[in-house]
Subunit: 520 residues, 2 copies
């Protein structure tokens, strides 16, 4: 292809992305990206998914990577378009997801003129990106794109942001580049393997897992180590992706509420980290520790999220003599008892535990409502669970879109707090347009309920009316059925157990998007 | 107050903001801002307006400044909360609006731990901020806040972003600071006054106005200069605020479509800038100039947006001998003829021209639909017109909120394209909650119509189905009546002239928010 000099930059970019196996584009384009849009017409192979706000596009790219283990690209309009997608890129970065952002930029002569949409795009990109580059030479664009894809798949996954000046896009002389080799994993700390092996023994030792340590296979290995050594298994509070359900090794999470987290971690004198970081509080609180592990606990980092976690766990199992040990903590199939009457976090949890279908992908942004979900769902059929790792609300529905596009044969169940869902409700339209098999539950507690607890945690025991008002989503109540209807998604309300059970059956029984407003 | 050392930082911040006459806070707070929220309970005087997405908060602060000429503050949750508000801060920056952002930050020890919500907040803030600071010392916080307010009112208005680490907020020892003097205007270019005066004469000379040159008084002065010298008056395409209507000097805008802009500017050999910048294209287009003025046109910059534009225009009028000249281009009261039948951009324009009430504030994000609005409304009763100056869509409804809160006695009319409105539709909830007197028209052309034209402008004459699909908002159609209803705003659809006339009467007759979905 090297002699294809009548190809414009935009087309060489599209062809390079396809050559690098990037074939899904989540987009909201603008004028400066029109050549890229035009190139999509005559280059087949890129699935383009339109989002009505960039937070949907970037969150979808996050979900897509988590489920397919390969990056999608986004196509965003200049600095403001990138800015709109920034918070879900923050979440993707913290989740270790690989994303290739293509961001339109003015021609350089136009940047100098400081046009209305001119901004410091690289400056906006940098806080959420591992790799940032602007392609000023059409001949380099293909190679730059291949480098961006390469950067994005650095373990566990990275954010690569490539700026595409319109002049580079429209100029002829584009060259298509082939895929570059994926970067090697970071090595895991072989030299601490003995220390890690010694550390694990008895119920005062903890093997803390994160990232790719939570695949089905790696969990089995962890289960063997636990069975052999008697150590406890836990995962971080937020996991980009965890394989769960009956027949799999079940691993609890370090709780979010700081006092509970301190209690859970208190017994552990020795902690080994595989893909996880040493537990810290989500926030700092006056008079409470930031580091959640017991004082004096010995922490051994065997492998970070960027390492070969399968290799690390296999080596640990071998060193512990656990390679043949039957794994501990295999979850048994268990169906929660059928609840009845009014809804509560517990009865909602049981109904979800009863409803999760085999092979479902659960996207969890349920915040306070969801704290009972883990135990109630661990005996459900095999499924995948995704958490928000960056703490910026609004990841749920966009991530569900990406997961559904990555895995069209699987059911996606989104569990969302109402406050979170309001951050990216434009996602409903894309779900409808793409006819995605997603069932969304909105837990309509009509408040930023988590913040009421946090007020107490920071020492405010008697909030007054102005403070309460800032944490309430009533006045007026949101009507999620109308919201969904406005964007073409079928929906219903469920205010008791029977209604929620029926609604889950309807939603999960259909292969179209469906929204359930859960009133409790 | 200097001895009040049992006051925590958050309270000293709230008291300082009030002392600096900042008494409206547009917010979406999180855990790290809970002490600020708590302080609002025992310090009266701050009107807090909750937004369900930060783009609403920052856009509202923009509208508030445009109408009140004093800053509001925003309260945003860490880097991601700021990121969510970034695109409307970009718009505010380009509009010359003053905004004081208070952004929560982790305690420094927590930043070091790289908690999930940790990010480079200053890095996120810088591209959209003129002034950025993190307050690490509780004793300095009050003064830092006063400096932020001072920076925000630097002419024409600036974005000041103050990071508030939670530890600074909760620590005692806060000191309340008083207001600092507002910075002086930049001087206007006295030394080019003669040149500017000589330049203006006859229809091949143009006085191009922007920013504060578009107040009622300054427009009258410009009208005198035009009458005296025969120069033409124009404003920029996007104006943060223009006073218009019968009895005021009427000034056209440089058109957005590049070919029209080139045509309009072609006759001018001499151009004097007062508060405006030399016209450039919104975007760069292959084979078209970026600078829109005729080749060889002499451009004299008398005063930038940061200068004393009243002083500049007064000096120019004096030098031109126009101080007593009756102003040219005074708009006469004119009511467009009542259209009937199906709706079109022209009939919509006439209906709006007939409906604008005395003293209304029109927030215009009507994009393609609105190109006929200027002529049809120039004879309406006196009103104020706000444009999007930064080109990042989604400014309209948030800015309308800020305008309504700044001017509770005035009617606000929002004119929005459907694609734009979808970027910040969460604003409807805040309109309902605050019972704001805003009538919103959504022009439901169900496409990014402007981009279809731009495809042609960049040289794509026959877009194929994939390109068209990326620019279309159908599949599914958005239903704005349901959307409004979901957030507690009354709404109707209008599909012909009679219906739109009646709907405008209902909306403008009520003092509550009302949404009209305009189908055409």
């Amino acid at each position: 292809m090297k002699d294809t000099t009548d190809m414009n930059g935009a087309e060489s970019l599209v062809r390079t992305l396809l050559a690098c196996d990037v074939n899904v584009c989540f987009t909201n384009p603008g004028t400066s990206e029109m050549h890229f849009v035009a190139a999509l017409d005559h280059v087949p192979g890129m699935r383009c998914v339109l989002a009505l706000h960039e937070t949907v596009a970037t969150g979808a790219a996050d979900g897509y990577y988590r489920m397919s283990r390969k990056p999608a690209c986004t196509l965003l309009h200049l600095g403001p378009g990138l800015a709109n997608g920034l918070s879900n890129l923050h979440n993707a970065k913290k989740a270790g997801s690989g994303v290739v952002n293509i961001v339109g930029e003015h021609a350089p002569t136009h940047v100098e003129l400081d046009a209305p949409l001119t901004s410091d795009i690289e400056g906006i990109a940098r806080p959420v990106s591992h790799w940032v580059h602007t392609s000023h030479d059409v001949g380099d664009l293909g190679t730059d794109a291949a480098r961006a894809v390469q950067a994005s798949v650095s373990a566990p996954g990275q954010i690569a942001t490539l700026m595409l000046p319109s002049e580079t896009a429209w100029t002829e002389g584009g060259l298509v580049a082939g895929a570059l080799p994926a970067p090697d994993f970071a090595p895991f700390a072989q030299e601490v393997l003995d220390e890690a092996t010694r550390a694990l023994g008895g119920p005062d030792s903890l093997l803390l897992l994160g990232g790719q340590a939570l695949t089905e296979e790696n969990l089995l290995t962890a289960g063997r180590i636990a069975a052999q050594t008697g150590c406890v298994l836990l995962s971080e509070w937020s996991n980009a992706r965890m394989e769960r359900g009956a027949g799999r090794v079940s691993v609890g999470r370090v709780p979010y509420p700081i006092d509970q987290a301190l209690d859970v971690l208190k017994p552990f004198k020795r902690i080994v980290l595989v893909g996880a970081r040493a537990p810290i509080g989500f926030f700092a609180y006056p008079g409470k520790p930031a580091v959640l592990t017991a004082e004096g606990a010995e922490i051994t980092k065997l492998a970070g999220a960027d390492a070969d976690l399968t290799g690390a766990l296999d080596a640990l199992a071998k060193a512990a003599g656990a390679t043949e040990t039957p794994p501990a903590h295999i979850a048994e199939r268990k169906v929660p008892e059928r609840p009845s009457g009014p809804l509560s976090p517990d009865s909602i949890a049981d109904l979800i535990g009863r409803a999760i279908p085999e092979d479902a992908i659960v996207v969890d942004e349920s915040i306070t409502t969801g704290r009972a979900f883990s135990p109630a769902t661990k005996g459900a059929p095999k499924h995948t669970w995704l958490n928000n790792c960056g703490g910026s609300i609004g990841y749920g529905m966009p991530t569900a879109i990406g997961a559904a596009i990555a895995c069209p044969e699987r059911k996606v169940l989104g569990l969302l707090g109402d406050g979170s869902a309001m951050y990216s409700q434009q996602a409903l339209w894309t779900m409808a347009r793409e006819a995605l098999d997603i069932t969304v539950l909105i837990f309509a507690n009509r408040s930023y309920s988590i913040l009421r607890g946090e007020l107490t945690n920071v020492g405010v025991s008697n909030p007054g009316p102005r403070a309460i008002d800032m944490l309430s989503l009533d006045r007026p109540d949101l009507d999620w059925v109308q919201m969904a209807g406005s964007m073409g998604v079928e929906a219903c309300k469920a205010a008791d157990c029977d209604a929620l059970e029926a609604a889950l059956e309807t939603g999960l029984g259909s292969d179209k998007p469906y929204l359930i407003e859960v009133l409790f």
